[in-house]
């Protein structure tokens, strides 16, 4: 940790629905890091991130965001964080600009700064021609971009994204990846779940593999290869090997 406050620290995080979804999970994400959380369907990735975002109450364990206990002081934690789900939840009857104005207002951002930021973000995501159109006729990709712009307009220190590239075309996906990379370089922390392992392999500083609600492996790609005794294998092969081993166990 080099004495630096971690961006996110999960301590024994547990959540049970009809079965155990997250099983005493311990996880630390450093500041200014791009962290990818991968795992098979139903592994507990989304449940974990929803607990971090304050959308689900854990049954046990703790969540610290930049040293703030998110369960004790959720408002302070949320002020520093943004959440983007795989199903973009935006308002059909608002335009992208109106949506961003609303989000900036909710986070208490000064209008002048948020307006400039909104224009810049929407332009960088290719939404400039649609600034004043209501979102009701937008494709899923366009809606996802509006939701992403909403997450970035208040300049969060921690961005949590659940499958943000779902439904995006190649060009839009490149825009989004570029934007997230820029944010990390500017000092932001990004935690992202993805099924596209190539994205995790290329973009993430560290990768966490989660299965049955537990972290089964973690590290840089090189570290993961080393841990598993493969020196020249793809993340996909590593992932399958790790998940298969866990399933067999």
């Amino acid at each position: 940790m080099n004495g630096e406050t971690s961006a996110l620290r999960l301590r024994g995080l547990t959540k049970r629905f009809d079965r155990l979804a997250v099983d005493a999970l311990d996880l630390t994400v450093r500041g200014r890091e791009f962290y990818a959380l991968v795992g098979p369907n139903g592994a507990g990735k989304t449940t974990t991130l929803r607990m971090v975002a304050g959308l689900l109450r854990p049954d046990a364990g703790g969540v610290d965001i930049f040293g703030i206990d998110a369960l004790k002081d959720p408002v302070a934690a949320k002020q520093m964080m943004a959440w983007v789900s795989d199903e973009p939840m935006i308002y059909d009857k608002l335009t992208p600009l109106e949506y961003l104005e609303f989000v900036a207002g909710l986070w208490g951002i000064e209008p002048k700064a948020s307006q400039a930021s909104a224009y810049e973000l929407l332009a960088s995501l290719g939404l400039e021609p649609h600034l004043n159109e209501r979102c009701e006729g937008f494709s899923k990709g366009m809606r996802q971009k509006v939701a992403l712009a909403g997450a970035l307009v208040h300049d969060p220190r921690l961005i949590i994204l659940d499958e943000p590239l779902t439904g995006l075309d190649a060009l839009s996906a490149r825009h989004v990846k570029g934007l997230l990379g820029d944010r990390v370089r500017a000092g932001c922390t990004v935690i992202m779940t993805t099924h596209i392992l190539e994205v995790a392999e290329r973009m993430a500083d560290r990768i966490g593999v989660i299965a049955a609600g537990r972290l089964v492996a973690e590290g840089t790609l090189a570290e993961l290869r080393q841990q598993n005794g493969h020196t020249d294998t793809s993340l996909e092969d590593l992932f399958i090997a790790l998940v298969d081993t866990k399933a067999a166990a």
Partner: protein, 529 residues
């Protein structure tokens, strides 16, 4: 499931839905069965609130409800059971007007159903990409709408017809035939109106216009009669117009076709057969004329849904607190909600007769002015319930609001403020006008509005669910208890306000009963768990 006789379909059809010569279409009966199955499941889902394990309980509940409904039916129509043909003109007018009102309500429901078929998409993509003959499929769709509208009307009319038959003889069962006939004709008119609207004003305006039409068409007739009664006779009773000499003077002779429905209800078999036959012919003509256009209309509606509406051009972002941001968003969404526009318009339409009555009574200080108060209080309670559902439950970006840095209590408070401010904006002018005529009544009315709106909002808050605004139509199915509680609290506060003006001690009892209903609702609400 592959339909028998449709398993060897090959795929060639032109844009009118006509298949090529070597194409075997799925049989009409199969589509009819498919339509019936979907309708049954939708009805069951509506009755059970979407809970799959409760059909038996829903049927038992429905039977109990139907049995209980015989009591008010007895009170309303029991004394008319001895009516026999020939009727005098006034009675014929009243009976025909009642049938026309039922027809108008069915027309309103049918317009809503047709619009839903065009815009909700559901299985239209699948159907239109299939090799089936589209005019056939859409004929079945039209028939389904007619059957569902008629079926619902038959169900609702059963207690009334039972009471009439029990007291006046089996001849009253002919009324079921009349209900079926007017249901079929209402569906035919609804389809024709909606498709003609599409052609005339385009898909964008048709949706809103049809929603407004559906909302006001049934109420419009009653309101028009009330306005005529106020202007001509100085009373709110619509019967004053129907039983007047003037109405009898312009009514056609007893042998006119206008009286067929009334004669048929009274057991005239010839009139009933003619009525049923003409309704079936009308529906058949509409199916033949409009089925081929149904597909084009559905495609146009889909294309409209995919296009975007241009909002206002850019302006500066506004500042303020987080609650202000929330309130601004809610007001903006409410302004742009087509359902709310139609609903508000309907509530305002209901307020037109009392407003005219108020204006007429301005000079003579009539005691009948007291009648205005319960109408206003009731309307406020109902409108507040709808607004509260839209703002509290119908949150399209629930995750965003939940991850925003402000406590949930402040989010809820901002939303409640929006409901109460909207109710204030709608009803304040009426209360202000009332204050000029009767200050005490204005105070009581304002109190009633506040209590009615607050109660409806509280009930929506206790029974809140996470839903999309577009699901508003189905809000009643999520909790029957909340729906009934909201209706009873509005009625309770309306009655209490009226009693406070007429018999103040009775108002205390009525108010206590309404509070008891609200307390019981809170006790049964899921948020209490």
């Amino acid at each position: 499931m592959i339909p028998s006789g449709a398993s060897d379909l090959t795929f060639a059809l032109d844009n009118r839905g006509n298949t090529g010569a070597n194409v075997k279409s799925a049989p009409l009966a199969w589509f009819a069965r498919h339509g019936r199955r979907l309708a049954c499941r939708e009805w069951l889902a509506m009755m059970t609130g979407g809970r799959r394990r409760r059909p038996r309980a829903a049927i038992i509940g429905l039977l109990i409800f139907a049995a209980v409904m015989h009591l008010p039916a007895w009170a309303v129509v029991g004394r008319f059971a001895t009516l026999e043909a020939p009727l005098d003109k006034s009675s014929l007018i009243v009976l025909s007007a009642t049938i026309f009102l039922a027809w108008a309500l069915m027309l309103s429901q049918a317009i809503e159903s047709v619009t839903r078929v065009f815009y909700a998409r559901a299985d239209l993509d699948l159907i239109m990409s299939s090799p089936a003959r589209l005019p056939n499929v859409f004929s079945i769709r039209i028939a389904s709408i007619a059957v569902s509208v008629t079926g619902m009307a038959l169900l609702l009319s059963t207690p009334f017809v039972d009471v009439l038959a029990f007291n006046g003889g089996l001849r009253w069962f002919a009324a079921f035939g009349v209900v079926a006939a007017i249901g079929l004709s209402a569906a035919a008119f609804a389809i024709a109106i909606t498709i003609v609207l599409f052609r005339l004003i385009g898909p964008a305006r048709t949706r809103l216009t049809a929603q407004i039409l559906a909302a006001v068409i049934g109420a419009g007739f009653v309101i028009a009669l009330q306005i005529a009664a106020i202007l001509s006779y100085g009373t709110l009773s619509r019967f004053a117009v129907l039983t007047s000499d003037a109405a009898a003077g312009i009514a056609p002779d007893a042998g006119s076709v206008v009286w067929w429905p009334a004669r048929a209800v009274l057991g005239d078999t010839e009139a009933l057969m003619l009525l049923l036959a003409s309704s079936l012919v009308l529906l058949g003509l509409v199916m033949a004329a409009f089925s081929p256009r149904f597909a084009d209309t559905a495609v146009t509606a889909a294309a409209h849904a995919a296009s975007s509406r241009q909002g206002k051009s850019a302006r500066s972002f506004r500042g303020g607190s987080r609650q202000q941001a929330l309130r601004r968003k809610e007001f903006r969404l409410l302004r742009r909600d087509p359902w709310l526009m139609s609903q508000t318009l309907m509530q305002l339409l209901y307020l037109v007769p009392p407003a005219i009555f108020l204006w007429r009574s301005f000079s003579d200080n009539s005691a009948a002015i007291v009648l205005i108060t319960p109408v206003i209080v009731m309307a406020a309670g109902q409108l507040a319930g709808g607004l509260a559902w839209l703002t509290i439950s119908g949150e399209d970006a629930a995750d965003l609001v939940a991850t925003a840095p402000l406590p949930p209590s402040r989010v809820i408070r901002a939303k409640i403020e929006v409901v109460m401010m909207s109710i204030g904006a709608v009803f304040a002018p009426l209360v202000a006008a009332l204050a000029l005529v009767a200050p005490l009544q204005a105070v009581v009315t304002a109190g009633g509005i506040l209590l009615g709106a607050a109660s409806s909002t509280a009930i929506q808050l206790w029974f809140r669910v996470q839903a999309r605004r577009s699901q508003f139509r189905r809000r009643q199915t999520s909790s029957r208890l909340a729906t009934f509680a909201e209706a009873f609290s509005s009625i309770g506060w309306a009655g209490t306000a009226a009693l406070a003006l007429a018999v103040p001690p009775a108002a205390a009892i009525s108010g206590a009963m309404t509070l008891a209903i609200i307390a019981a609702t809170w006790k049964l609400s899921p948020t209490r768990d």
